[in-house]
Every structure is written in structure tokens, then in C-alpha cells.
């Protein structure tokens, strides 16, 4: 112990106040456990402060402008003026409201809040170094710890984020004045979401991607409408190239990329957004001091109760492995808190949905056709294109489709892929179907409101059973 240290004690120490940590802390407190939540930065974590929420705010704001500009077909003629600084202010307001809400919820539930960076001393104590000069530190003894330290953007060597023209998603989301030319390194979901935002702000966007297409985790037909829209927005794609170096020029940067054969290409830009993925934050916590194993990628391995190799230490969210999704983190946080409270909780979800807020949106849950085959099922597929949906046509957004993957015999729903308007909302019904063990018949026989996009889900289920009304059954 350092002189001046104050030792306090808590039953549950939650490290990290993102969607995994704060949810875990609230549930632990609800279960009557003395709970302390510590974060070195802001309540709500990356998700609320620098990720999901601010990016969705900017996506919606830029969509409004884009849609207004592109509604001549509907007879609407407009030329909106965008004040990016005001847009940022509005976004900050949304973020503040949510993070303030998290803080209030924590307090109302009796969670002790603490600001600082936690480091394990051993498996029952941690040191909390408070930020700032002279703030000191304290030692906290805990019975159980929940590690929810999250993740951060991966840096490409040479493109460290401390250099001003090199942005991570965080800097990109805080921009007050959009650059004229933006080079985006990486065509994964973050790269695609932000490329779209900037293209809609009128920025000249170029994307370089090492692989040969956008969002390689998704099926080709699912990403195709997104690529088409991006092309229409004037985004320039360069596949099979990896960014190798950059240098500052007068008023901008020149980025050099290299392809497989070693051929070099150069791109002029004002700013460079590097979005090549995220990596877990675990080393600053010194998990080894508590005896917690960390794998070669920095992830903390956990069992189906979110428990690490050390009995009283749990890990949830991004730091506990893929998929790095906020809702997965929250679910794990709840399970960890309940397990600590002695409840028979477990991570037994059949599927965790994922959504990408590109234009159009992509959302998936459960298995693809190929995955179902690989798992030994004989999959039964049903599909419904949005161009056959009255509601989709009447919004002016009719790209994409709903696809449903089911098991052959009883027709249990195994998975779904949606690309199209409001895909991120529509996927919820299919997630429920999978968790409930619902069959195609169950989904098809549920009356869906007309005219809505949700009808597409029902139609896809009917199509799989060869009973679709509004499409030809295959």
C-alpha cells in the first residue's frame, strides 16, 4: 500500500462503466450486493460517448439532409444547409442526456460510483488511481470483480492516433468542420457507416481496404445494396490495398498504400480515418496480478457464466471476446451480476443479433444458410424482397430483402439476414423467434400489421414454406 492510500471495501467491484459494466453494477445492486462501479473516463463507455449513440445521431442527421436533397421524385425540392457545429451540439445533447441517465440510474440503485483507473493488486484488491494531478489513489478490497473494460480502435503501425490528421472513429464523430477529402482505411462496419456519414455531408470520400470487398463477414448479396448505395454517393473504393505510410503535405496528407504485388498507390486527403477493427482493453488492468488469464489477443476467456479462470473474477463485454457488441456486453453483465448473487443465470442465448447502420441497414441474427449446413442442418430458406413491400415502396426505400433460414423438418427458425430499410428494428422479431424455438409456421401465422416493413418477415416465412402470397414461391 502506498502512503496516503485509503482502503475501502465492496462486495462487487465493476471495472468499466460501459453497457457491460453499468448494467452489471445496477443488477448487482438490485440483488442487494454492495457494488462499486469505477471508470477512468465517462459513464456509458465507448458506446454512449464515442460509439453507437453519437454515430447513430450523426447518421440520422445526415440522412435527413440526404433524404431532403433526394426527394424530388416525391415532389419535394430542397437544398438543406448543414451546420456541422450545431449538429455536433445536438449530438452532444443526446449523449449527455444518456450518460446523465446512466449516472442517475446507478445512484438510484445504490451503486457507489468512483472515478479512476483500476489496476488489480491481487484477486481481492484493486488500486484505483484517480485521474489528474494530486488526486491520489486508493485501494479497494472486493469479494467479486466484474471486468468490463471494453475495447479501443486498433492502430495501424505508422498511423497512430496521436497525429492530428489521423483519426479514429472517436475523432471522426467529434468533427466540427468536415474535411474536403477524407481517406478511410478499412471497409468494415465502422468504416462503412462513417464513410456514408461523410459522403452525405458532401465530403469526397475514398476507401482503401485490404480485402476484396466491403464488410467481409457478411454474405455478398447482403452487402451488395450497401455497396451500390455507396457507389451512388460517390464513395471511391480501392480494394486489395493496405495503407503503409503517410506524410504531411501543404494543407493535407499523402497516404501511400501497397497491394499484394508490392505496387504502391498514393492518395491525397485532408484527414485519414483508420477503422480496421477494435481490440480489447485489458493490459492497463494488470489482470495477471489477480491470476486472470489473458489470451494472445488480449481477450479474457470466460465460461458460460461470464466467469474467468479465477472464481471471483468475471469478465463481460468486448474484453471477454467477440462479438464486440453492446447488447452482448449488457447481457453478460446481467448474467455475471446474477451469478454473483447466487442465481442460476447462464449465457445460453441461441443467437446474438447484430446490426450495421449503413445505407441501407444490415441486420443479422443466428445462422446463415451456409452456417446451418455446416452445423448439420438441411436448411430451408425463405426470402422476401422489399421491392414487393407496399410500405417500403411508399417510403422510397425499397432495396434489399428479408431472408429467413429454418430447419427442414419442424421449420424451427435458425437465422435471418436482412438488408434494407429499418433492418436493425426488423431483426428483433426474428431474434425472438429463434429464442422461443418458433417455427416458420409460427411466424407466418402471426398476423402482421399492414402496411409495414415487418410484413416482409412474415412473407419470408411464408415463402420458405412455399406459401407466399406476394412473391413467387421458389
Amino acid at each position: 500500500m502506498v502512503v496516503g492510500d485509503v482502503t475501502t471495501g465492496t462486495e462487487v467491484l465493476v471495472i468499466g462503466a460501459g453497457p457491460g459494466g453499468y448494467v452489471a453494477a445496477i443488477r448487482a445492486a438490485q440483488n442487494g450486493l454492495d457494488t462499486t462501479l469505477v471508470d477512468r473516463d465517462a459513464y456509458g463507455g465507448v458506446c454512449l460517448n464515442y460509439g453507437c449513440i453519437p454515430s447513430k445521431a450523426l447518421i440520422s442527421a445526415t440522412d435527413v439532409a440526404y433524404d431532403a436533397r433526394n426527394a424530388t421524385e416525391m415532389g419535394v425540392h430542397a437544398d438543406p444547409v448543414i451546420h456541422t457545429d450545431e449538429m455536433q451540439e445536438w449530438k452532444e445533447g443526446v449523449v449527455d442526456q444518456l450518460t446523465g441517465g446512466v449516472e442517475k440510474l446507478c445512484k438510484a440503485n445504490g451503486v457507489n460510483l468512483m472515478q479512476g483507473e483500476a489496476t488489480f493488486v491481487d484477486d481481492s484488491t484493486a488500486r484505483i488511481a484517480h485521474g489528474g494531478e494530486g488526486q491520489g489513489s486508493e485501494t479497494i478490497a472486493f469479494e467479486h470483480a466484474i471486468v468490463a473494460t471494453g475495447s479501443r480502435p486498433i492502430e495501424v503501425p505508422g498511423f497512430e492516433f496521436e497525429h492530428d490528421p489521423i483519426w479514429s472513429s472517436r475523432e471522426a464523430l467529434e468533427v466540427e468542420e468536415p474535411p474536403e477529402k477524407l481517406l478511410v482505411v478499412g471497409a468494415g462496419y465502422i468504416g462503412m457507416e462513417l464513410s456514408t456519414v461523410f459522403a452525405k455531408l458532401g465530403v469526397d470520400v475514398t476507401v482503401v481496404e485490404m480485402l476484396d470487398g466491403i464488410m467481409p463477414g457478411y454474405e455478398d448479396d447482403v452487402t451488395r445494396p450497401v455497396k451500390q448505395r455507396a457507389d451512388e454517393l460517390g464513395i471511391d473504393f480501392n480494394f486489395g490495398e493496405a495503407a503503409s505510410e503517410w506524410e504531411e503535405t501543404e494543407g493535407g496528407v499523402v497516404v501511400t498504400t501497397e497491394d499484394e504485388d508490392g505496387e504502391e498507390y498514393t492518395y491525397d486527403a485532408d484527414k485519414v480515418l483508420v477503422a480496421v477493427g477494435r481490440q480489447p482493453v485489458s493490459e492497463s488492468l494488470d489482470p495477471e496480478a489477480a491470476g486472470v488469464d489473458v489470451d494472445e489477443n488480449g481477450f479474457i476467456r470466460t465460461d458460460d457464466q461470464a466467469r474467468t479462470n479465477v472464481d471471483n473474477v468475471y469478465a463481460v463485454g468486448d474484453v471477454a471476446g467477440e462479438p464486440m457488441l453492446a447488447h452482448k456486453a449488457s447481457n453478460e453483465g446481467i448474467v455475471a451480476a446474477e451469478v454473483i448473487a447466487g442465481e442460476p443465470a447462464a449465457l445460453d442465448q441461441q443467437a446474438i443479433p447484430a446490426a450495421v447502420f449503413t445505407d441501407p441497414e444490415i441486420a443479422t441474427v443466428g445462422m446463415t444458410e451456409a452456417e446451418a449446413e455446416e452445423a448439420g442442418f438441411e436448411p430451408k430458406i425463405g426470402q422476401f424482397p422489399f421491392r414487393a413491400s407496399g410500405r417500403a415502396l411508399s417510403t422510397g426505400e425499397s432495396e434489399g430483402f428479408v431472408r429467413i433460414v429454418a430447419e427442414q423438418e419442424a421449420g424451427f427458425v435458425l437465422g435471418a439476414q436482412i438488408v434494407g430499410p429499418e433492418a436493425s428494428e426488423l431483426i428483433a422479431e426474428l431474434g425472438l423467434a429463434i429464442e422461443m424455438g418458433a417455427t416458420l409456421e409460427d411466424v407466418a401465422s402471426t398476423v402482421h400489421t399492414h402496411p409495414t416493413l415487418a410484413e416482409a418477415v412474415m412473407e419470408a416465412a411464408e415463402n420458405a414454406n412455399g406459401e407466399a402470397i406476394h412473391t413467387l414461391n421458389r
Binding site: G32, G342, P344, A345, A346, D348, Q349, Q350, A375, G376, F377, E407, E409, A410, G411, F412, E435, M436, G437, T439, E441
Partner: protein
């Protein structure tokens, strides 16, 4: 290589189950026929269970501390192909089906596959999955009643209940949810019988098949045999076995207690426990049952008297050295045994047993004297057989050996059976008089107080003398007070003048 399963053998007369105290082998160990694989504590003794095979230990089916019914598979071996083995214990192929006996393995596998899908997915809503966790049910083993075998909460509950019953039949203890017991696996000594998923904790039948002994047991325990749940059938009718009856009776008794314990368990998270529970089974339960049977069956009367034994003290001192030369520690107990036998020969009614059914009192012409021994596990009563035919030294030696075995728990059930009269030496821990409980169905027990110098009146003077307080408890149905007093007088005489024992 074939897999041989080995069932808990009948380790002693009338023993229905045993607590698996320790494993002497682990999976992968090589064993030869006759090697000790486990120690099992029955309600009578600690027994070592030998292997019947030469081979390698494949799997252990019980955990240390489990109660295992006789006939349940406890271990499997991998043995060479030509091994003969015991037909009863043979299992053709039970790979990957832990807990399932040979005959049932196949059925179980089928059940499992029908509920499972290629990737092991189970179609059940989250609420049903959560319930399964709460009830400690492996949802993969639940048979779904919904379309395509989808599992509902009701299915999970039904499975949990049938597993519970099953579990109870298997180990004779009730499993209450949340008690932290091992998951209820379908073990089952129930061969090829059909399994009904909804066998509840209490059945309602008009017809029940059972062997007469089972019916008798049910009657004895006050159990309606038609209410005993079972999953076993014979010729399409429900078939109940002794274990089912016992489990049911116990559960009926424990029902209220369990509910209380659960409530207490919930509180326990908030406060440190104010109470602890220790299992009431094995030796402890046997003692308890024995004591209750005896006390509630035989009307006890205790006769108290004191033997003056100065002469015995001297005699023992004289003989002790001689005995020691022969490697024997001559104890007072040997003399007491001899004196008791002399008394019993004069008053055979104290060496008897009441057979109410036959309406006779059986007088024994042999003298097997039980000696109560306090052990860590509880009271045990090893029996010195045919005391009348043995010499002092022989008796002293045997008492010593039996007591040691009892304390070390290496005594065999046979060494604790066949007693005709018992002695309890509570005086070893101090005290003068007590009211011992007869070792039923015997009809008398002699309690010994501590040998000490106490004031006695001799020729009108109070003097110090070595005395041995005697407490003789008798079954007053068979023995009257006068006989008890006379017997005690005889014993006193022999103890007062030990040379008489030579006659």
C-alpha cells in the same frame, strides 16, 4: 476391449444401500481382480469393495459421500476381450452414457437424439431454459411436447420431477431444488422398463405390483403403496420396489423440513448461518433407528446396584503381568463378561429374544456378548462370540481387537451381528449410573459405571472400597424386576469373588 460395469454388491446381510466413503482408484488406473476399489459405509460397517475384474478403471459413477443402493453401477472397467466376468454386472457397450446401466443405455441414447439437433441445439424458449437451470435439469435430456419436440416449461418441470423421483430411488435421499445437489441424472436400476415422463412425487393408482417384502415394508412404514411413485412397470402395471417405498417414506417425512430448510437457505445469504446441518445417515441414522425401535418397543426398566470389587482389583493386578507376558492387556471387561455369562447361565431369561409373531420367547443357549464402543462415527456394538467357551485372556484379546476394528472402522458387519446380551461401559467416560437402551431385539443390557474407590459400610464402619456401579436395563415384557435383581446379585458375587469364575 470391452467395458464391464460393476454394481455395488450386497456387502452384508440386509444392507440396502451404502455411503461411498472413498474411492481407492481413479479412471485410468490398472486393477487386478480382488484389488480394493472403494470403501463403502453401510448402515452397519465400513466395507472394502474389491474389483471383480482385471483391467483399467474407465469411469466412476458415484462421488465420495453419495449414498449408493445395492445393485447400482458404481464403476466401469475396460477389460481384455475374453474376460468372463459376472453376467449380472456385464455391460456390452455403455460408452458415453455415464450413469446409465447397461440395459438402459440404448434407450437413453435414443431419447437424447430425438430431442437433439445436429449441432446439439435444443429448441426451448428462454423461460424454459432458465427454469431448467433453476431446477438443475440438463435441458438436452428433456423431451419436448411441442411441435417438432419444442420444450415447454411444463416439459422441464415434468422432467425435473421424474428425475427427482428417480434420483431418490437411486440414493434414498430427497433432492430439493436449490439445495446445491448434484444434477439429477437418470441413473436407474430400472432395466428395460418403460419410463413415463410425468411420474409425479405422489402417485395415485388402483393397482400396484410389488413383491411381498416390499408390501410389508410399506405397511411397516405406514406408506400407501399405491401412492409410491415409480417409473418401473411389469406387464404394463406400475412396479414398486423397496427402495421406492423407502425413498417415498423419507420424502414424506422430510417434506416439511425441506421447505423450512429452503427458507432458511434464502436468509443465509444475508446473514451468517445460525444453524448447521449434519447428515443423518449411515451409522448415525442406524443408531437412531435402532434406539427408537428399542425404546418404543421394549418397556425399559433399569435396575441399579453396586459391586464391591476390591478382590477383583487385586486379582487383576496379579494376573496382569502374566497376561502382559502373553501380549494381552487384561481388562476388567474380560472379568465382567465372564461374570455376566455366569449370571446368564443362572437366569437364561436375560439371554433371550421375544418373538411376538410366533408368540414365543427364545432363550439362547449360546452367549454372544455385544460390547458398545464409542467411535468417531457413533456407537458400534461388536460382538464377542461364545464367551462361555473362552478363557479370560482370549476374551480380553478379542474385546481389544474388536474395539480397535470398530474405531478404525474396519469391522465387518458379521462381527457386529448375532449378539444375545450387551454391555455398555459408559463408566469409561466417568459417571456411576445410567439407563442404557437395550440392543434390540436382545432383552437386557448391563451398563458399567466407573470403577472408583467409594465409601462403603463394612461392619458398621464407613470404609473406602473399589466399587463398580451396575445399571441393568431389561425388557419388562420378558423379564421381571425380581429376575433382574437376582441376575445382578449373581454378577455382583462373581465380581466380588473372581475366583468363583474358576469353578
Amino acid at each position: 476391449m470391452t467395458v464391464k460395469e460393476f454394481k455395488l454388491p450386497d456387502v452384508g446381510e440386509g444392507v440396502a444401500e451404502g455411503e461411498l466413503v472413498s474411492w481407492q482408484v481413479s479412471p485410468g488406473d490398472t486393477v487386478s481382480e480382488g484389488d480394493i476399489v472403494a470403501e463403502v459405509e453401510t448402515d452397519k460397517a465400513l466395507v472394502e469393495v474389491p474389483s471383480r475384474y482385471d483391467g483399467t478403471v474407465k469411469e466412476l459413477f458415484a462421488e465420495e459421500g453419495d449414498m449408493v443402493p445395492v445393485g447400482d453401477v458404481i464403476i466401469s472397467f475396460e477389460v481384455g476381450g475374453t474376460e468372463g466376468g459376472d453376467a449380472e454386472a456385464e455391460a456390452p457397450d455403455t460408452e458415453g452414457e455415464p450413469g446409465a446401466p447397461a440395459e438402459e443405455a440404448e434407450t437413453d441414447t435414443e431419447e437424447a437424439t430425438s430431442a437433439e439437433t445436429p449441432d446439439g441445439r435444443v429448441f426451448a424458449p428462454p423461460a424454459a431454459r432458465k427454469l431448467a437451470r433453476e431446477l438443475d435439469v440438463d435441458i438436452g435430456e428433456v423431451e419436448g411436447s411441442g411441435p417438432g419436440g419444442r420444450i415447454s416449461e411444463a416439459d422441464v418441470r415434468a422432467h425435473a420431477e421424474s428425475a427427482e423421483v428417480h434420483d431418490e430411488t437411486a440414493d434414498g435421499t430427497a433432492v430439493t431444488p436449490g439445495e446445491g445437489e448434484a444434477p439429477a441424472e437418470p441413473t436407474g436400476a430400472d432395466a428395460s422398463e418403460t419410463v413415463s415422463a410425468d411420474a409425479g412425487p405422489r402417485a395415485e393408482r388402483d393397482t400396484t405390483l410389488a413383491v411381498p417384502a416390499t408390501r410389508a415394508l410399506a405397511e411397516e412404514l405406514g406408506v400407501d403403496i399405491h401412492a409410491v411413485p415409480t417409473e418401473k412397470t411389469r406387464d404394463g402395471e406400475a412396479f414398486v420396489e423397496e427402495a421406492d417405498v423407502r425413498a417415498f417414506a423419507e420424502r414424506e417425512e422430510e417434506g416439511a423440513t425441506a421447505a423450512g430448510a429452503e427458507a432458511a437457505g434464502a436468509d443465509a445469504t444475508a446473514e451468517p448461518a445460525r444453524e448447521e446441518t449434519v447428515p443423518y445417515r449411515g451409522v448415525r441414522r442406524t443408531i437412531g433407528e435402532q434406539m427408537a425401535t428399542s425404546k418404543y418397543t421394549a418397556p425399559h426398566v433399569t435396575h441399579h446396584d453396586t459391586a464391591e470389587i476390591d478382590e477383583l482389583v487385586e486379582t487383576r493386578e496379579e494376573l496382569k503381568r502374566t497376561a502382559e507376558e502373553k501380549g494381552v492387556r487384561l481388562t476388567y471387561m474380560a472379568f465382567v463378561l465372564k461374570a455376566v455369562v455366569a449370571g446368564l447361565k443362572e437366569y437364561p431369561i436375560l439371554n433371550s429374544e421375544l418373538d411376538e409373531e410366533e408368540e414365543v420367547i427364545r432363550l439362547k443357549n449360546y452367549y454372544n456378548i455385544g460390547i458398545a464402543v464409542a467411535t468417531d462415527a457413533g456407537l458400534m456394538v461388536p460382538v464377542v462370540k461364545n464367551v462361555d467357551e473362552k478363557g479370560l485372556l482370549e476374551i480380553a484379546d478379542e474385546v481389544q481387537e474388536l474395539a480397535t476394528k470398530a474405531r478404525e472402522r474396519t469391522i465387518s458387519p458379521q462381527e457386529m451381528q448375532g449378539g444375545t446380551f450387551s454391555i455398555t461401559n459408559f463408566g469409561a467416560f466417568g459417571g456411576e449410573y445410567a439407563t442404557p437402551i437395550i440392543n434390540y431385539p436382545e432383552t437386557a443390557i448391563l451398563g458399567l459405571g466407573a470403577i472408583e474407590e467409594r465409601p462403603v459400610v463394612e461392619d458398621g464402619e464407613v470404609v473406602a472400597a473399589h466399587t463398580l456401579p451396575l445399571s441393568l436395563a431389561i425388557d419388562h415384557r420378558v423379564i421381571d424386576g425380581a429376575e433382574a435383581a437376582k441376575f445382578t446379585n449373581t454378577v455382583k458375587e462373581y465380581l466380588a469373588e473372581p475366583t468363583k469364575l474358576l469353578l
